[in-house]
Symmetry: C2
Amino acid sequence: MKELNKQSIEDIALGAALLGTGGGGDPYVGKLMALQAVENYGPVKVVDVESIPDDALIVLTAMMGAPTVLVEKIANGGEFKRAFEAMEKYLGKKIYATMPIEAGGVNSMIPLAVAAQMGIPIVDGDGMGRAFPELQMVTYHLHGITSGPMVVTDEKGNVSILETINNKWSENIARAMTVAQGGSVMICIYPMTGKQVKDCAIRDIMSYSEKIGASIRESTKKDIPPIKQLLDEIDGYELFKGKIVDVLRETKSGFNFGTVKLEGIEKYKEKNCEVNFQNENLVAKINQEVIATTPDLICMVDTDNISPITTDALKYGRRVVVIGLKCNDMWRTEKGLETVGPKYFHYDIDYVPIEKRIKEASNV
Amino acid sequence: MKELNKQSIEDIALGAALLGTGGGGDPYVGKLMALQAVENYGPVKVVDVESIPDDALIVLTAMMGAPTVLVEKIANGGEFKRAFEAMEKYLGKKIYATMPIEAGGVNSMIPLAVAAQMGIPIVDGDGMGRAFPELQMVTYHLHGITSGPMVVTDEKGNVSILETINNKWSENIARAMTVAQGGSVMICIYPMTGKQVKDCAIRDIMSYSEKIGASIRESTKKDIPPIKQLLDEIDGYELFKGKIVDVLRETKSGFNFGTVKLEGIEKYKEKNCEVNFQNENLVAKINQEVIATTPDLICMVDTDNISPITTDALKYGRRVVVIGLKCNDMWRTEKGLETVGPKYFHYDIDYVPIEKRIKEASNV
């Protein structure tokens, strides 16, 4: 068990924003929520997956909705108090700890704020090892764990409990509620025993995010180029370097959909790159040739300070490096690819592991 | 207490279809559901509002959604079993009886089917004295009773419990769920004590529906013109008689919206009539002059057999009589008109009681 200080929270926010592959909402808003909660309620204890008692009740806490909305519709703190009361009353059991559903801006920070507020530990794990846009896109789903009972709350005080026939129905129903409730809601989901968490959680996401964040923060202090340090740290691939020349964006059905177009600079001059996203970056192409797809990670960082750029911060003229990163092996299974592969998102593209695409690509 | 026979159910379906003012769904589908449930589970007992124990738990049961959808998406019978289990577990109390939320095709029959299936009585009352399209449009709402906990179920097996901050939020959230769940859901709503039901239910809706239904059924056997018999029975006004020349219809946001246009026949020749609806008929105009508005009842019946016509059965060429009927006095209060008056439905029309409009009208 370790206690998180403010520097740790800053670093986790920074590192998770990279793993969030463009989604997960503005890490700055999330960070403020977490820091404020720690200020108000005291430090947060982090526990390893392996140290959770087998029969303890663990719940994931997160924001659901279009990340662009949260910037203007801030949580008021009562959401999770009400959600926990509803969940504990419904299950007749106390919640032992919370855990992030994903790595990404707001959704890496919300469980920290919840842990501080509710006086419970946070588990050092998650269900994606990155960020994805839908509720069933978690390793728990691959292991047959149900998302319900799931609690949906909002800043107004509405509380709903969902018990659905499968996790995709939780996504469909809760997404419709999200839109009706103003574009974002807070959720308390996938109640699990400690044993179940041990069976299928992705380990150490917070420690890993913190390490990445610290590396980004320290990167300008060394002689090695920052981007090289980062790629070494995360074992990643530089896919492209360019200037944003177009951003197409649409908030639809509770998601941010869009495409960003880049013109190459330096050694990528004369080339162009296009990245498609649904909250998260899903497909990257160079000169119209696919170079990386979901579930592998496609991240963008600023060329100067290598700070991660979320899809809602994409702007004309900004210079970015596009980075590729291998996903967790659980996503490369048949059920994993059915759940989060390019075809699920309606792209007519076969999944090819990023390391193989890079080796075969003509454009990198 | 009385037991309903098949004839009673047929008559209630017929009479409630008239009071449903065009909404409430196809009475034929509802009637089949009720008759089948009685066939399977035995007869239904009806209890008066005054005879309910003060501390008994009463819940309203209904279909929510666009009536046109239900014709193709029949309930499978498991919906209310699951809804009752969820409600009773959540409240820790057995349900004593069910009650209709409104008078209208399907929603007059569903509580009968539920009562038969669950082996409980049905209360001879409702919350509208007619049909309305939204959940907060009940006399309970006028008396400050909350719709939650409300259970939403579907034929697939999804179950949700909603506790909202007010009844309009129940409507908004459940309506979004309705659309996500295929256009119609089954609901179990406004759990009340017997005392609360006595305080604000509209009495005797089923007895009244049955009386109207029997009158319609018998109407061709007497010497008096059927429409005159019906108008005498319900103390109603004949507003127009005409042929349907146009039906505009749209299923949107979980509702059926539309307008029907009529060309006058017999003494209404040279005149035209237009009726606007949102599930239920809301505004009637003759030669563009408003002759009746919600919350007063605007009903249409076939010219030949005076059987009520729901909005989903409106067809070019059909000959109909448009009938007006005074609403319950609770709807004529300030809060009543705020909740269901023409302005709530975005019509720029002041409410004037139908009897006053008739007296002043130039076109009737």
